[in-house]
């Protein structure tokens, strides 16, 4: 090695402060929300007020006549530009604007365009639509067999080849069903000493990014540029190109920092709409949703899970059956992926020989549901960790001891058949026990203020197989930029990726410039989702940096500049400060698709995420109000690239899940949302953070991950809800099986127990 670039190291594993921190706190950071272009029009969406119906007519005359209105656009106008204007990642089921039918309250039906956003808003309020109402269905279990069909025909996108078989299926609301069979669960259940069966529910919630969805499209001569608050610029480009019938190189998608994403800004949201509007108007068009409008674009799946286990006298789980129903709302979004990719872990982080799983993505007449920080895992954990505690309680076994006896250990096969490697389930469980001082006597409080404690653990597979590409560009003065399409939405990916580049090239992480996603500039990335970036993009970035290092070395050899500083190498080779060295890296993990019949795969995920939580609570039994005295969060994140950011990821995820545990719930009455504002839909504030909260990672290493690291963005969400419910049950004997755990629900449960006893 003769170049001046040497392996200095020490960049990875260092708690580098976020590269963008200063720009953010000083208000200089770039957001799509702030962007204005000359001649730009604002669009305001007119929405359906009924849950399901045939559109009889849309009256836009009053709106179009309003002073200052540029144009009013309906679904028919969209069809004039795009004959088949349906989009979506898993199914092409969502119209750019409603066509023929509306399928949920809040669905976009028309858009008013004006130079002045207030005029656009006023115009939208003047639009009227008439409908012939159709029977609607809201409950996921009911919808699975209902005769009220949300869609006439299923339209799988073809993006995912394993959905092809659903093509053209009629008269069903089940968008996808996933099945897994391992061993002989029926026989094992019949032979078990005990059989337990419970049903759990989770509610519909919203992602609530503080920067609401916003997209802006600018038409060019034969191109279109989209500025959008998106987690998946590469996908947006593909999908827009498909809709328009254009090659990808005529569509340019750019993102800035995101004011939070959490899955709300995945795949395609407002982008198709602003593109159509901009092409029709021949002007830039921007749509910025209000906080309230976000409730009508994307939610987290409500679920119903039936879970049944066979257990031996000495506390070994020998069989488990789970049926999970996912309330997908009116459009599939990524719901079918959630159903399958999370569905196969429904039996939990346990070593069970006989498993039968069924997972159903179901259409209903509610706003579309997609991925929200955990990709369906928190819903499943709510069920299996509540169930686990109920069994332990019933068998009078210590909940931690019961888990110890049953957890998956290194090398044992998960239900899908893949042997478990680098999943620190045992270490996470033991750390929880340690942090809660489980072995010590516990103060159970008084008659009216009762105390209890509980734990929960969880396992998640990463979405696979997915591809990331990165470019490292070394400039002639020796400075360096990373081009990658990972979207920094607050998780600190810019900083982590810069650390990887600097580790390879022997630079300071702070000196690396990270170029934000721009599909004309930065290469392909599947999306920033599901805690995949650190592992996938991290590997691609590492390869790109290694490629650049090798090319620099070759250049030095070629120029006879070995051992000289980088700038000198370029000067010697090109005679002046000129040239580039461009390193590229691509990463896709090995993968085996699950067998159609059995759901088996030897390699379904490149890595596992493990999360655990422990809680101590004090319940006021006269009101059902409770306080969380202590919340302990433990995660396996492999070897963290940036320990400080990873720790805040764990705590941030836990606090977010706390909202979904305690009070967040979109309340529907006949398909109408009754709390569509932050005045009534409350999210956690600082005062809701538990008095004592710790967040940490256990010592671990992910083989195949960049420098032993893996994803950490979601792990903190997994186990919070059941840990709290288990602590409450320990305190009061009252078991909540539906989220959120409101004081009223708990008070009723406690009163019910008192009445039963009385």
């Amino acid at each position: 090695m003769a170049t001046k670039i040497v392996e200095r190291g020490g960049q990875v594993g260092r708690s580098v402060s976020r590269l963008e921190g200063r720009a953010k706190v000083s208000g200089r950071a770039e957001y799509a929300h702030n962007l204005k272009l000359p001649g730009m029009l604002y669009g305001k969406i007119f929405r359906s007020r009924i849950p399901h119906g045939k559109i009889r007519g849309i009256d836009t005359t009053a709106a179009a006549a309003l002073d200052g209105v540029f144009r009013v656009v309906t679904g028919d106008d969209v069809r004039a530009l795009i004959p088949n204007p349906y989009f979506g990642p898993a199914f092409h089921d969502q119209p750019v604007l409603a066509l023929e039918k509306v399928r949920y309250v809040g669905e976009p039906v028309a858009v008013a365009l004006a130079r002045d956003p207030h005029v656009a808003e006023q115009a939208a309020s003047l639009i009227e639509a008439e409908y012939d109402e159709l029977p609607a269905v809201y409950d996921e279990v009911e919808a699975a067999t209902s005769k009220a069909f949300v869609h006439e025909t299923l339209k799988p996108a073809g993006t995912f080849p394993d959905l092809k078989y659903l093509e053209g299926k009629r008269e069903t609301n089940i968008a996808l069903d996933f099945h897994l069979l391992r061993g002989e669960p029926e026989r094992a259940l019949a032979a078990a000493d005990y059989v337990f069966e419970h049903t759990f529910h989770t509610q519909t919630v919203m992602h609530t990014p503080l920067e609401p969805l916003v997209s802006l499209a600018e038409p060019g001569e034969d191109t279109v540029t989209i500025y959008t608050s998106s987690q998946s610029p590469s996908f947006v480009r593909m999908e827009i190109a498909r809709l328009l019938g254009w090659p990808e190189n005529r569509v340019r998608v750019r993102t800035a920092f995101l004011g939070g994403g959490f899955g709300a800004k995945l795949y395609i949201k407002l982008e198709a709409l602003v593109v159509v509007l901009a092409l029709l108007a021949r002007r830039p068009v921007k749509i910025s949703l209000t906080m309230e409008e976000q409730f009508y674009h994307i939610t987290k799946h409500a679920t119903t899970t039936r879970i049944k286990s066979g257990v031996t006298k000495d506390g070994r789980i020998v069989a488990r059956e789970c049926d999970v129903y996912w309330n997908g709302g009116a459009y599939a979004d990524i719901g079918p992926r959630v159903t399958q990719k999370s569905g196969f872990t429904a039996a939990g982080p346990y070593d069970i020989d006989n498993v039968k799983l069924a997972s159903y993505a179901v259409y209903t007449n509610l706003p579309p549901a997609g991925a929200l920080r955990g990709f369906g895992i928190p819903q499943l954990v709510w069920a299996y960790e509540g169930h686990t505690d109920l069994i332990a309680r019933e068998l009078e076994l210590d909940p931690i001891e019961f888990r110890r006896k049953n957890i998956l250990r290194e090398g044992r096969p998960q239900a899908v058949g893949q042997p478990i490697h680098d999943a620190a389930i045992d270490a996470v469980l033991e750390r929880l026990a340690q942090r809660l001082e489980w072995h010590r006597p516990f103060d159970r409080g008084s008659a009216t203020l009762r105390r209890g404690r509980g734990v929960a653990i969880a396992l998640k597979a990463v979405i696979a197989p997915t591809t990331s590409v990165a470019i490292v560009n070394v400039y002639a003065d020796g400075s360096c930029a990373l081009y990658c399409s990972t979207v920094d939405m607050g998780q600190g990916s810019d900083t982590a990726m810069a650390q990887i580049v600097s580790e390879v090239l022997g630079l300071e992480a702070e000196a690396i410039r990270v170029v934000h996603p721009d599909t004309d500039v930065t290469p392909y990335d599947m999306a920033t989702l599901g805690s995949r970036s650190t592992y996938h993009m991290g590997n691609a970035v590492k390869r790109a940096a290694e490629d650049a290092r090798a090319k620099l070395h070759a250049l030095a050899v070629e120029a006879g500049a070995e051992g000289l500083p980088v700038a000198e190498i370029f000067r010697k080779r090109y005679g002046m400060q000129a040239g580039n060295v461009v390193g590229t890296g691509t990463f896709i993990p090995a993968y085996q698709s699950p067998d159609k019949k059995t759901g088996h795969s030897e390699n379904v995920t490149p890595f596992w995420m493990v999360g655990g939580a422990g809680a101590e609570v004090e319940v006021d039994v006269e009101t059902g109000r409770f306080r969380i005295m202590k919340l302990v969060n433990v995660a396996d994140v492999g070897k963290p690239i940036n320990p400080k950011i990873v720790t805040t990821q764990i705590s941030g995820a836990a606090i977010m899940q706390l909202g979904f545990t305690l009070f967040e719930k979109m309340a529907f009455e006949d398909g109408r949302l009754t709390n569509a504002s932050l005045a009534d839909y409350k999210i956690p504030g600082f005062l809701d953070v538990p008095e004592v909260m710790t967040s940490e990672f256990v010592e671990a290493e992910q083989h195949g991950g960049p420098y032993g690291a893996k994803g950490a963005g979601e792990t903190g969400t997994f186990a919070v809800s059941p840990a709290i419910a288990n602590a409450i049950a320990d305190a009061t004997g009252a078991r909540l099986t539906s989220l959120p755990i409101t004081p009223e629900a708990l008070y009723r449960a406690i009163s019910g127990l008192t009445q039963e006893r009385g």
């Binding site: 504030g685 005062l687 009223e744």
Partner: protein, 291 residues
């Protein structure tokens, strides 16, 4: 939000003149924390807003007069009330209630006059002020008048004020030997509006309750003064059993409304428990103070 006319008169007199006696689309705006929310969601579409931000400075003053009466100008921001040593000295329960009211950003902007005139039944201060026997001084084009806070609220988001009347000042009488407390119960996030708020003011003599004022908010259509619960207390010591009976009387006498923060039955239970606890706490503090 649609465009509207905004006027900013430099005096209270001109502000009153700019208001309209009948047209509800003309309204006064002070801090705007509530009104702006209603405008953003389109519940309120003003034709004209009369901003009070430029009226005379004296409507932002906090003073105690020679009789020990606390005067708070209607345009005083809630955070100024919260931080006022005069308020702590004369009506400490207000300070304590303010610390739990919404959040610091709202308190920095919202005014005490707007807080009362808005008449949202979930507000924290109305029951407190009712328990303190407070009054408001009101000005209109045809003159001025006093209204007891107990009589200020007519219904859901409705006061007895005419469309062109403004609250000018809040007045809290000296509390003498009375002790007061406020218990707030939230069922969603910690900084949410209360599901139930209970304010209690007690005068204790010889270990028993000589006089009591109890007011409940958030569970009812408008903040209410309790009558039967007060009767239960009068002449009795504030022991556990008496407090429970008073709580039960409170739950019986109120017509409770459900909302996203609790059903009727649950809110009645909260009224029952929180009324009893608020009385008990106030009584204990009074006893301790009397010793």
């Amino acid at each position: 939000m649609t465009p509207f006319e905004l006027v900013e008169p430099p005096s209270l007199r001109e502000a009153l003149a700019a208001l309209d006696p009948v047209d509800p689309s003309t309204r006064a705006i002070a801090g705007g924390t509530a009104l702006m929310l209603m405008m953003k969601i389109g519940v309120f579409k003003p034709a004209r807003l009369v901003s009070l931000r430029r009226v005379e400075e004296r409507y932002r003053r906090i003073e105690v007069d020679e009789d020990g009466v606390l005067h708070i100008g209607a345009l005083t921001p809630l955070s100024a009330v919260e931080r006022s040593p005069l308020v702590v000295a004369k009506a400490g329960v207000m300070t304590r209630a303010l610390l739990t009211l919404s959040n610091v950003r709202v308190r920095n902007v919202a005014t005490i006059g707007g807080h009362l005139a808005h008449a949202d039944p979930h507000m924290d201060l109305p029951p407190v002020l009712m328990a303190l026997g407070a009054r408001v001084f009101v000005a209109g084009p045809s003159g001025e008048r006093w209204i007891d806070v107990v009589d200020l609220f007519r219904g859901y988001y409705e006061t007895v004020l005419a469309n062109n009347e403004l609250i000018v000042e809040l007045v809290v009488p000296p509390q003498g030997k009375r002790h007061a407390d406020y218990l707030k119960c939230t069922t969603l996030s910690a900084d949410d509006w209360p599901a139930v708020g209970v304010a209690v003011s007690l005068e204790i003599e010889g270990g028993t309750v000589k006089d009591a004022r109890i007011a409940v908010s958030a569970a009812t259509e408008r903040p209410r003064s309790l009558v039967r619960a007060v009767e239960v207390l009068r002449g009795r010591p504030g022991d556990e059993a008496t407090c429970k009976r008073a709580g039960e009387a409170a739950a019986q006498e109120l017509e409770v409304l459900p909302d996203g923060r609790g059903s009727i039955d649950y809110k009645k239970q909260l009224v029952r428990v929180y009324t009893a606890r608020a009385i008990r706490r106030t009584f204990e503090a009074a006893l301790l103070d009397g010793r």
